[in-house]
Assembly symmetry: C2
Homo-oligomer: 485 residues x 2
């Protein structure tokens, strides 16, 4: 069955790229590490073999927290570079997202169903899938195809960890915007929102940043009573009226998240990743905000509301704003929140240094919130460091960590070379995994350079691999000569 991801092509504002895949499924053990049950489930993956010629590499995207077709449509770099490497392209869906639901509609119903959602289980899924691909696309000489892992954001964390934990499964990893240092004791919790603030000040304006900074008190003041809350709800075109302080907190969280998302996806061209947006959306947002004149509190809220429409209503088709969500439903927010309460515990806080309301990070409160929401608690804050090593990458090899510095997640990224084998690429004008997106004539030079760096690294890994198994033959020479550093 051929799967056409048409949705990305239908509207003018969306990316012009639309990639074609075959959708496949693999039967996967539910639990790779215990033997209490022998249940299995169907994991989805997408394959494009247009450019593939054996014994060329497999470009393997380690899917993250969402429908895999969304990531496939937003990771054009793999398609742009596959022809010169004659690569097979595979996008693997992360368990519990998209259609890879182990218990169908019940998958999110309780910890006994949802508990098999973890990064470790997902990594093992990818190892099993790669093993299966090796059989499906066998060269015939018994030699394995070299597999290169790719991933952005949480997917980037997974691609680097796949190389670290299962180095025999992949010859290297391109980990873009992968905040593997966003864990306890490695990155200060206030870094994240500080970056968002700097980006609004530097790419928007000082005035824009100050208006946002002021808005929290203004909104809380106006929303002190029912009348004020109704006013705020109406000005911001909310789908349901804010009725309590709890509702108000949800609204303010929603606004914070929109500012954060704008920094993440501040690409120089129109794109549709979290939401359909114009190019340079922060500049557009701040230009709008700065241009609206106001004389009182309601005026300020109105100005913010107008600017927010850049994010919430760029298509002019949003009837009202649902403050329960800030991004496409393709992104599995609920699953990610569960993971944040189990194995992906990332301390983040706001202080006076940023434009957001102060929000201290308190692990005990965090744990309580998790228990209330999902009936689970983080075992302890160190789980991800115990499992993946935190910032001790001494023995790691063949990983490129790239980061766009406009991206708040870059604060928890690997920003310095660790060794000759684990390197960092910085894109000062880049946003969240800009380098993994399809090439665009508006790309900044740093993003273009990052992509070239990736290709050279991949070629070098391939050269080593072919040398190891075939000696000085055409495959080895091809890569060794073509991509000399």
């Amino acid at each position: 069955m051929r799967f056409y991801a048409l949705f990305c092509c239908v509207a003018f504002y969306r990316s012009v790229n639309c990639y074609d895949f075959v959708t496949k499924y693999i039967e996967m053990p539910l639990d790779h590490f215990s033997f209490t049950s022998n249940a299995t489930f169907k994991l989805r993956y997408l394959v494009n073999d247009t450019y593939f010629r054996q014994p060329s590499p497999v470009f393997f995207y380690t899917g993250n927290e969402g429908d895999i077709s969304m990531f496939a449509q937003n990771t054009g770099f793999l398609f742009d570079s596959a022809p010169e490497f004659k690569a097979l392209i595979v996008f693997a869906e992360h368990r519990y997202y998209g259609t890879s639901l182990p218990f169908g509609n019940l998958s999110y119903s309780s910890p006994s169903h949802l508990g098999y959602l973890s990064s470790q289980q997902a990594l093992a899924d990818y190892v099993y899938l790669i093993n299966d691909l090796q059989k499906q696309y066998a060269i015939g000489d018994g030699q394995k195809l070299p597999v290169v892992a790719f991933g952005g954001s949480y997917g980037g964390m997974l691609s680097s960890w796949l190389r670290i934990k299962y180095p025999y499964a992949v010859i290297g990893a391109i980990a873009s915007s992968a905040p593997i240092f966003q864990f306890k004791g490695i990155t200060p919790c206030h870094t994240f929102y500080k970056i968002v603030t700097d980006v609004f000040r530097n790419l928007g304006s000082e005035k824009c940043e100050k208006t946002i900074r002021k808005s929290w008190t203004t909104i809380r003041n106006v929303a002190k009573d029912d009348n004020g809350r109704a006013n705020v709800s109406s000005i911001l075109r909310l789908c349901s009226i804010v009725k309590s302080v709890d509702d108000l907190n949800v609204l303010l969280d929603w606004m914070s998240e929109i500012y954060t998302n704008l920094a993440m996806v501040n690409y120089p061209y129109p794109a549709d990743f979290l939401m359909p947006l114009p190019g340079n959306p922060i500049r557009v947002f701040c230009n709008t905000l700065d241009s609206v004149e106001y004389h009182d509190d309601l005026g300020l809220i109105k100005a913010i509301g107008t600017a927010l429409e850049i994010y919430t209503n760029y298509t002019q088709q949003t009837k009202c704003n649902d403050i329960e969500t800030t991004a496409t439903a393709d992104l599995g927010e609920k699953g990610w929140n569960f993971q944040s309460c189990t194995d992906m515990i990332m301390p983040i806080c706001s202080t006076d240094e940023d434009m957001f309301e102060n929000t201290p990070y308190n692990f005990t409160e965090y744990s309580e919130k998790c228990f209330k929401e999902y009936s689970v608690r983080p075992r302890n804050e160190n789980v991800p460091i115990l499992e993946y090593g935190g910032d001790d990458l001494e023995t790691a090899s063949n990983i490129v960590f790239s980061n766009g510095l406009l991206d708040p997640w870059s604060g928890g990224g690997v920003l310095k070379n660790i060794s000759s084998k684990v390197t960092a690429v910085l894109m000062p004008d880049g946003a969240h995994h800009s380098d993994l997106r399809a090439k665009n004539h508006l790309d900044t030079e740093d993003v273009v350079n990052a992509r070239n760096f990736h290709k050279k690294q991949i070629a070098s890994w391939l050269g080593q691999y072919y040398w190891r198994y075939y000696g000085n033959n055409e495959y080895h020479l091809n890569y060794a000569l073509k991509y000399k550093h």
Copy 2:
């Protein structure tokens, strides 16, 4: 509470070594990789801090399939070398063995209880325990203590995998008699029994090997009817009479296992590891067998029975032979059998090349047997290779694999240097992890050399570690100068 392992000192035939420990427990998550339950259990570990001076290393034994105190009493190398390294000695018990039973008496009652027994869960236990030890024995400058992993047999596999999977937790591993190549497609299945046979022929005699080779048919012939089976049972002093072909198969398996065990523990001095035994037990066994004259089938069986008493009744206190077990009850045979059906699937077979009855390896039959016994099946034969990489150790570092070539498990061991960082040590006269045992004046030279090699490697890893964190200070210099290669 102080735990005195007195049992090892009471009888004349036992090792003269008796080590002293404090017994401790750590609360451990039952499942490190899923979040369906937040259950925990008490994992036992033994600590000896007699020689420990900060910031010296931790010698961490990754416990295998049995009561940890048995391994502690049979791993004297750690005690013999701890004084010069001023090391803290820790022996960690493997979950589901000894007293580390997650569900108490119910632990082995069903897959839903027993299913959390896996090598991956055990490795994570060790990482959590090491993390806890880092807090308990903190230096004060925030710097971690360097931890060196040690293990013999399955424990050796675990120590090498601990370094491979969690390289930030241990600076290196001494993996003795660790058959990490005893998996599908890496080592031919007939290697194991071929080695046992060679050892009986070379250290015993050709006659001895031939008698054993002949005995299977002889016993089957005699045991064709009730009368014959009763005769065999009586001659071999069995606790219960062999009544069926099934019983007979159990008897022959028991005999095979004794020959195998004799090869494993063929130490040059009396020892008490699997069973109390004299020095060079295969020579003693074969001398006995060869010296008994016989003229018919019953005579041959009687000769075998007499020789077997070397193994089964060296203490002269065994009233009868229980064919359900071949080793001390401290060894968790049932747990190991479960692991052999889940994550430690090691193909082993007998052919005409060895002295045992032909036993082909058939994965389907194996899987059926597992299901019958434990209500589980191996997911597939490749599980251990997918999880640990098989013989692809390209990115591994700081591991010594040592093997005694008398040991049948050496066939699945790492017998060649993989790189400058992953080295092999061969002991042509050594048995199963001879090098990890306490020094003895009867040690062969290769075993003594292996221990010296380990110490140099450990010193070199420590030198690198201290250099990395402290620069050119006394700790670094101490190890860099003292153990120059």
